[in-house]
Structure formats: structure tokens, C-alpha cells
């Protein structure tokens, strides 16, 4: 069944030529010399005032990277990247040492204002009275780490978080201030030798966020990082490390945008999550990098490695992603379910338009006993885009009682695009129960039956069940993200193919 008109229009509204964040901030920046060499790695490390062990770590990764080749297995097609034709470090030129928000370059502040990202915590802390009916006064607080090209320009609510014992700071600061934590966990989930882009990131990552939530602490507010690429010919390589100690909870979200340019830019991030016993991490992404223009020119290459390690018993990691941007997306947020009774979740909505190419999905690796995972993926392809779900669910010999449920649906709008599903399901254990389905009608027969019995059509019932489920997740996304994401999601499921 073809997509209904309403869906078509909604998707059109977020088509590539409607990109709203394509402006550029004119600002002088401090760049590393073009190209990649040991010198570049040393330059970045020096810029960041890093201890010797960190430089060593980077150099090892760099040497390893030299021996690796680019992966070609994904269903994406792009000209070969010249890694010597990129800048690996670009930072807005500081006018002097920045000690408060007011001293940040006003141009940068303006940029974040335009993007709708609240950097002025004061305004929020003092709770400027919102006019009646204008804003919800009970809005939750969000701490923001704003990353501009290669550096973090501001982190809000640091003091308040510190009171709760939560460490939230740029990773470059954490390397200096909390070396014991960084050394213990950095690279423990995504080793430096993991894959081509992760290894490259390990060598040249410039900034990103670091979060540590101490035992038993429920992080008092949402944490978020906002990534902005501004400089030309620059790759952004950020690194995020989140550690939830025993019994703690943290919700983290990231957003990304970039200026509209004719050339492609590389974004190769690594995100590592560690959840110890009884801890829970919720990681949400609204990815809206510049997707290129309607002829497929320009746009970000988003080659990202994201992995969570449920290291402790009863731990839980959940990934939520709303993907609308990037010329090419290559990203598989994964969960290693190592702790007994641990749980992994992956909820994804990927919408591709224009000439975008998406190859995304997840890996659920069941190692511990009685681990469970759930994958819900919705792909919507329009224009001349290609949208692929690629996922792995595997239960190892000792993962008795492992359970997985996967549902991935795709919707095509127009006959010039493609939607593909490539799931790998590996059961090495008879007590593992894996269910994979790709038809909406099978999501939950009894719930559907219940709805239909009460007078809803099949279509309405499916829409209600799935949207209800998806919304449930999205409502957890705070601030502007939620509004934007919800707009993207309220797309009818009619005409969905498996």
C-alpha cells in the first residue's frame, strides 16, 4: 500500500532543501595544519595540555590506524575520502581566557541562540517568569555541553551537578582533572583497535563530554551535548564517555547540526557507555547534520561508533535515536549485555530524503545470564535515498535465558528510493529465545485485536499501538529536541513494508 498523502507532506517538510540550520558563523579559528601525521596527533594533544599517557594512547591508535583499511561492507556509496585533505583540529580563537559565559565570543553565543540551545543557565536558574501560556514553568532543567568544531565552548550547571557528585565536563578537562577515571574506562568499551573510524577517532579526538555518576545517585537533571560543525574542510572527532556507577541513573542526549556547504565533511565520533551493577543509562540522539542539497551535493559523513557495556548485574542501557540528517550515516549503537539480568534497548527512527544514505542499526550481544534486549526500528525513505537497517542479535553459549524481540519496519515514499533490512540473528544457546519480525501486523496481535474489537480499523489500531509506543520513548526527550522529534515521528505507519 503506498504512503498516504499526509505522510508524504510531513516528510516533504523535512526534506533536504528545508534544512534550517545551514547558516555559518563567521569566526576566526585556530587550526591544526592540514593533514594527518604523528605531528597532528601531537599538536592536538599539546593544545589540550594532555598528560604523557594520553599522547601515548593517541599515538598507538594512530600507528594502528595506519595499518587499517576503510570498511566497505555497508550499503553506502561515496568517493574515497582523502584523509590528508582534512583539518583535524579547529577551535574558535579565544580572545582571552574564558571564565564566564559573558566572555565567550558573542558570535558563538548567537549561533547557539539561533539553534535554540540554552547556554545561559542563569536565566533558567533564576526561573525568569515565563508569560502565561507561553512556556511550561515546570520545564525540567538541562545541563548543556556545547561543542563547537573541535572544542567545548561552554558547559552549564556544572556547580549544581557537582553538588550531587555528578561529574559533567568536556573530556579534555576530565583527562586533566580525573585521569584515574578516564584511564580506567576510556577505550574499555570501544578499544582503540575496534574499527577504522574508531581508531582514527582515538588518535585525533579533540573534545566531547565526560560524565561520571557516583554510586546510588540519580542524576538530578538531563545532561546534553550539542555538537556544531562550523569550520570548512574540518573533520569533527568527538569522544563521549559516560560511566554510571552502581545503582545510579543518568539520561543524556545529544544534538548535532552543521552549515550548508558544497563539500562533504567527516564526523567520526566514538561514544562509550559503562553501566555498573543496577545502573541505568539512557542515551538519546537527535541527529540533524546537514544532509546535502537536493542534488546530493555536500553534507556530513556521519561515521560513528557507539557502544554501551552493561558491565554490572541488573544494569540497563537504552539508545534512542532520531536520525534525519547527514549525507551518509554509518552507525550502530550497540549493547554488550555482560552482566547477568542486564537489559539493552534500541529505539530508532531514521528518515532519509534527497540523496541521503543511511546504514544504521544496532548490535545486541548477549553474554550474561537472563539478559534481554529489545529493538524497535522504523526507517522511512523518500526522494532518492537509501535506508538500510543492519542489526545483529547474538547469544553466546553461556548466555542462558537470553531473550530478544526485534521489530523493524520500513516505509518507502516514491519509487526512486530503497529500504533494506539486514538482520543477523545468531543463537548459540537453546534457552535463548529470539523473535524477529518485520511486519506491523504482528507487533502484538492481542493488543491489535483489543483495539479492533472496540471499533478501530486495523490501520488506526496499528498506528495507535506503534505510535503510542514510540511516543512513550520520545516523551522522555526533553526540551526543543522533543518538539522537533515528535514532529518527525507523527508520521503515519500506513503503507509500511517489512
Amino acid at each position: 500500500m503506498p504512503a498516504v498523502q499526509e505522510t508524504v507532506e510531513r516528510v516533504k517538510r523535512i526534506d533536504v532543501d528545508q534544512y534550517r540550520y545551514g547558516f555559518e558563523t563567521l569566526i576566526e579559528s585556530d587550526k591544526a595544519p592540514k593533514g594527518l601525521s604523528e605531528e597532528t596527533v601531537k599538536f592536538i594533544s599539546e593544545k589540550k595540555n594532555e598528560p604523557a599517557w594520553m599522547l601515548q594512547w593517541r599515538l598507538e591508535a594512530y600507528r594502528r590506524w595506519l595499518t587499517m583499511t576503510e570498511p566497505t561492507w555497508a550499503r553506502v556509496d561515496y568517493p574515497k575520502i582523502d584523509f590528508q585533505d582534512l583539518y583535524y583540529y579547529a577551535a574558535p580563537k579565544p580572545k582571552k581566557t574564558v571564565s564566564s559565559l559573558d566572555e565567550i565570543d558573542p558570535e558563538i553565543l548567537k549561533t547557539y541562540e539561533k539553534l535554540g540551545i540554552p547556554l545561559r543557565e542563569v536565566a533558567m536558574l533564576e526561573g525568569v517568569e515565563p508569560k502565561v501560556g507561553e512556556e511550561d514553568p515546570a520545564r525540567r532543567k538541562i545541563a548543556v555541553d556545547a561543542v563547537f568544531d573541535s572544542v567545548s565552548v561552554a558547559t552549564t550547571f556544572k556547580a549544581e551537578l557537582k553538588k550531587a557528585g555528578v561529574i559533567f565536563m568536556p573530556i579534555s578537562e576530565a583527562i586533566r582533572e580525573h585521569p584515574e577515571l578516564v584511564q580506567k574506562y576510556l577505550g574499555s568499551v570501544v578499544p582503540t583497535s575496534d574499527n577504522f573510524y574508531a581508531t582514527l577517532n582515538s588518535a585525533v579526538f579533540s573534545d566531547g563530554s565526560f560524565v561520571y555518576v557516583p554510586p546510588g545517585v540519580r542524576c538530578p537533571m538531563e545532561l546534553s551535548t550539542y555538537f556544531r560543525i562550523n569550520e570548512r574542510n574540518t573533520g569533527q572527532f568527538e569522544r563521549t564517555l559516560i560511566i554510571a556507577d552502581k545503582g545510579s541513573y543518568v539520561s543524556y542526549l545529544e544534538g548535532c547540526t552543521a552549515p550548508q556547504r558544497d563539500e562533504n565533511q567527516l564526523h567520526a565520533a566514538v561514544v562509550e557507555l559503562v553501566a555498573l551493577d543496577d545502573a541505568e543509562i539512557k542515551y538519546s540522539t537527535v541527529q540533524n547534520w546537514y544532509p546535502g542539497n537536493s542534488e546530493g551535493k555536500g553534507g556530513i559523513y556521519n561515521f560513528v561508533t557507539k557502544r554501551g557495556d552493561c558491565r554490572g548485574a541488573n544494569s540497563k542501557i537504552s539508545w534512542t535515536q532520531v536520525e534525519t540528517g547527514s549525507a551518509i550515516t554509518w552507525k550502530y549503537p550497540s549493547c554488550i549485555l555482560r552482566g547477568d539480568n542486564s537489559r539493552g534497548e534500541f529505539y530508532s527512527i531514521a528518515i532519509s530524503n534527497g540523496f541521503q544514505q543511511v546504514d544504521s542499526g544496532t548490535k545486541m550481544i548477549h553474554l550474561g545470564k537472563n539478559t534481554s534486549s529489545r529493538i524497535i526500528s522504523k526507517g522511512i525513505a523518500a526522494g532518492k535515498s537509501q535506508n538500510t537497517y543492519r542489526g545483529l542479535v547474538t547469544a553466546h553459549r553461556k548466555a542462558t535465558g537470553a531473550r530478544n524481540f526485534t521489530a523493524c519496519d520500513s516505509l518507502l515514499i516514491g519509487d526512486k528510493c530503497g529500504a533494506h533490512t539486514v538482520p543477523y540473528i545468531e543463537a548459540k544457546n537453546s534457552s535463548a529465545t529470539f523473535e524477529h519480525e518485520a511486519t506491523t501486523s504482528k507487533i502484538s496481535e492481542d493488543v491489535l485485536f483489543y483495539c479492533i474489537q472496540r471499533g478501530l480499523s486495523q490501520e488506526e489500531a496499528v498506528g495507535l499501538v506503534v505510535n503510542g509506543f514510540v511516543k512513550d520513548v520520545l516523551q522522555q526527550l526533553p526540551m526543543e529536541f522533543a518538539v522537533e522529534a515528535q514532529k518527525l515521528i507523527s508520521i503515519s505507519l500506513e503503507g509500511s513494508v517489512g
Binding site: M1, P2, A3, W73, R397, S410, L412, I413, G414, D415, K416, C417, G418, A419, H420, T421, V422, P423, Y424, I425, E426, A427, K428, N429, S430, S431, A432, T433, F434, E435, H436, E437, A438, T439, K442, G495, V497, G498
Partner: protein, 434 residues
């Protein structure tokens, strides 16, 4: 990723194999040239391994290691042993065409019983004139190896409108241990024809042999074809079969595969729906035990609009066996109104069993309905309990549930007597288990 490395022992053995076999391979100079080309292609690629996506779960370098020398033409003693195997596995009323160790055995076959509308030749005869049959679009290494070394096969052509009531049964018998047999067959079904083809793979007491078979089927418009493949090779044999099927318009094509033998087996099917309004049903059951490795890989390509495809697969995996199912449905940009469904389920009977499923969808048209489902799990404890509470012993209760589990796929066989025959095979497998 194929880095040119020094030839491993097994690859050297293959080179020698071709050199020594070349003189015995049938065919005109054209054919010999085509074989050499195919062999060079194989030599470049080597045996498929896990880094080749299509062979990710069936690493022939690890599982098979070396390719065995070509079997010699069967002698009188071998023919006699084969005759007994043929007798034991013949389908009642079928017209038999027998290949022994990769060579057509006229004395064991019923060529004379074939109706006039079915014309028959051996591959050997065909290759004297034409190398066309050795060529396929595939770049797969095992198919190239088959083209290089195919010794014989069945070349069948069913006339337009022919209605064959008796099935045609192609029986492959292995009698020689530690050798390999390469066969390639072709079945052309004319417009509006109706035919049932059964393929059977069996062995006499032969051990550790290798089978590499290729079947090229083309089905004319409005034809009705049932194709059943029963693979019951020796427990330590290797069976790699590649099928290419092209289907015309308004065709009914019903395929069923049963795997009960071979240490390592792979059935790879490439089915193209090339005419509108056709109905394709592809089903199979893999019954695996001990350390058997059974792989079913299928590509169903909807190249035109308005076709229906259904795939139902069941794997029962006992002991340390390993089941692989890879199914891909491709819907081409113009293939609107395609209805494609695929369901694969694996039943793990032992803690050391392994099931790998990869059901893929590749869709380029927007007005289609496609879906796939995949499950893996053990027998339902509550169902077992129910049966045991009613006095059935454990094994018997299991057998009953397994029968029901595979039944859904077996039910798709339309012909009553063939279906009963397949049910019988499943029952015997279950009896051996308990």
C-alpha cells in the same frame, strides 16, 4: 577482500586436480576454454570463507579445507551398489534419471519411459556442441569450480503444454569414497506445461565424498512446476548445490527442500521472477544432528510487478549441529504490487546447537507488501509438560512437537504421495533420534 597470498596446500591440490582432470572432462574446444576460464576464476577466489559476506556463516576453508580429486567413472561393482541405492530411494511411479559419481548411468535410468514431450540429453552430449550451459552470471567461487569440473548432468526439456503426470526423479548416487563429483543439470519447462521434478542425493556405503551440483531451471509462461529436493548424503559428506531458477508469467512454482544428511551442506538458490502474475512458494526443512552444518541461502528477485512469493523454512538442530538460513527478497524499482513473505524458524534441541538467521529485504518499490520473520528458541516447556502429563515419554512428546514444527513447511508440498514420502523421512529421522 582477497589478498594474493602464497597458495595454501589445499589450493595447490586444486590446481593439480584440474590439470589431472582436464583430459577426462567432456566437451568441445570451446567448452575446454570456458572451463579453463571458470577454473582461473575459482583459483583467484579460492574456497569461500567467512570474510565473503554470502559465506559468512559457512566458511568452507574451515569446514571443508580441501577439494577432493574428481571421482573416476563408476565401474561395474559401483553400478551394482548404486542400483540398490536407487531401488531404495525411488519414488513410486517416477521416471528415474540416475547419476552415479557424477556420471549419467543409462542402465539404471528409465530414459525409454520418458514421454515424448520430455526430451532428454546428458550434459556430456550437450557439451559436445555448446558451452552455453557452463555459463552463469554468478561470480561465486563454488559455481565457477562446478563449471570447470562438471562431468555430467541431466538436460531436460518439457514441451509447451505437456502435462506430465508421473514425476521425473533425478537421483545422485555416490559410491566412491574420498572423491568429488561435479554435476550440472538443466530443466526447461515449456509454456503451459505441468511437471514434477524430484531430486534425490544418496550414497551407498561411500564415505567422505564431496558433491558440487548446479541446476539451471527456466519456466515458461503459465506453467505449473513442483520441485522437491531430498538431500540425504552420507553423514560425513559435503554437498554444495547451486540453483538458478527463472520464472515466466502466471507460473505456479512450488519448491521444497529436505536436508537430512551430509556433514556440511549448502543449498543456494537464486530465483528470479521475470514474468508478471506468478506465484512462487519456496519451503524447506533442515534436520541436523551431531556436528552437521546445514546452510540454506536463497535470493528471491522480484524483477517484475504483481508476483507473490512465500518462503517457509524450519530447522531442527540437535547435538552440536549448526543451522544457517540466509534469505533475501529483492524488489526491483518497477516491481510494484509485489507481495513477498518469508518466515524462518529454528528449533534448538541442545545447549550446544547453533542457529544463525539472516533474513534480508532489499526493496526499491514503494507499493509493495513485504515482510519477514525469524525466530530461534527451544521447545516450549509448557507444551512438553502438557504432553508428558498425559503420559507420553519425554522423547515421544518432543517428537510430536517437532513433527508439528516442521509440518508447516512440509504441508506446502501439494502432491499427496510426495508429501507422505517427506513426512516419512522426517519420522525416520525422529525415530533415530530416540
Amino acid at each position: 577482500m582477497n589478498v594474493a597470498v602464497a597458495k595454501t596446500g589445499s589450493r595447490r591440490a586444486v590446481s593439480d586436480l584440474f590439470a589431472s582432470a582436464e583430459g577426462r572432462l567432456p566437451g568441445s574446444p570451446d567448452v575446454i576454454a570456458a572451463r579453463r576460464e571458470a577454473f582461473e576464476s575459482y583459483e583467484r577466489l579460492g574456497l569461500p570463507h567467512r570474510r565473503i559476506e554470502e559465506w559468512k556463516y559457512t566458511d568452507l576453508r574451515a569446514l571443508v579445507g580441501e577439494v577432493l580429486p574428481l571421482a573416476a567413472a563408476p565401474d561395474a561393482a559401483a553400478s551394482k551398489r548404486a542400483a540398490e541405492a536407487v531401488k531404495a530411494h525411488a519414488i513410486a511411479g517416477a521416471c528415474k534419471l540416475v547419476l552415479v559419481d557424477g556420471v549419467f548411468a543409462a542402465d539404471l535410468s528409465d530414459v525409454k519411459a520418458l514421454v515424448a514431450e520430455a526430451s532428454f540429453k546428458t550434459l556430456r552430449e550437450t557439451l559436445e556442441k555448446d558451452a552455453g550451459l557452463l555459463k552463469t552470471a554468478s561470480t561465486d567461487a563454488v559455481i565457477a569450480l562446478n563449471a570447470a569440473l562438471a562431468t555430467d548432468g541431466v538436460v531436460l526439456s518439457i514441451a509447451d503444454g505437456a502435462q506430465l503426470s508421473a514425476p521425473i526423479q533425478i537421483i545422485h548416487v555416490a559410491t566412491a569414497a574420498s572423491t568429488s563429483a561435479y554435476t550440472r543439470s538443466q530443466v526447461v519447462v515449456g509454456k503451459g506445461a505441468r511437471v514434477t521434478i524430484v531430486e534425490t542425493f544418496v550414497a551407498t556405503e561411500a564415505e567422505a565424498y564431496q558433491v558440487n551440483d548446479a541446476v539451471i531451471v527456466s519456466v515458461g509462461d503459465n506453467a505449473d512446476v513442483a520441485h522437491v529436493r531430498l538431500m540425504d548424503d552420507a553423514p560425513d559428506a559435503v554437498n554444495i548445490t547451486s540453483q538458478f531458477v527463472t520464472i515466466g508469467a502466471n507460473v505456479k512454482f512450488n519448491f521444497f527442500n529436505m536436508t537430512t544428511g551430509a556433514a556440511v551442506s549448502r543449498l543456494q538458490g537464486f530465483i528470479t521472477l521475470a514474468g508478471e502474475g506468478s506465484e512462487l512458494s519456496v519451503n524447506g526443512v533442515n534436520l541436523l544432528k551431531k556436528t552437521e552444518h546445514g546452510d540454506t541461502t536463497l535470493v528471491v528477485d522480484h524483477a517484475v510487478p504483481n508476483c507473490v512469493s512465500r518462503e517457509i523454512f524450519r530447522a531442527v538442530i540437535d547435538d552440536r549441529a549448526h543451522s544457517v538460513f540466509q534469505g533475501r527478497i529483492i524488489v526491483r524499482p518497477d516491481a510494484q504490487k509485489t507481495d513477498g513473505k518469508m518466515m524462518t524458524r529454528a528449533l534448538l534441541l541442545s545447549d550446544e546447537a547453533e542457529a544463525d538467521n539472516k533474513p534480508e529485504l532489499e526493496i526499491f518499490a514503494d507499493d509493495v507488501s513485504c515482510g519477514h520473520g525469524a525466530t530461534a528458541g527451544a521447545l516450549d516447556d509448557s507444551l512438553l509438560f502438557y504432553l508428558k502429563a498425559r503420559g507420553l515419554p519425554e522423547k515421544q512428546a518432543q517428537a510430536l512437537l517437532i513433527q508439528a514444527f516442521v509440518g508447516e513447511a512440509i504441508e506446502q508440498i501439494a502432491d499427496d504421495s510426495l508429501r507422505e514420502h517427506v513426512i516419512g523421512i522426517a519420522e525416520r529421522w525422529l525415530e533415530q533420534r530416540s
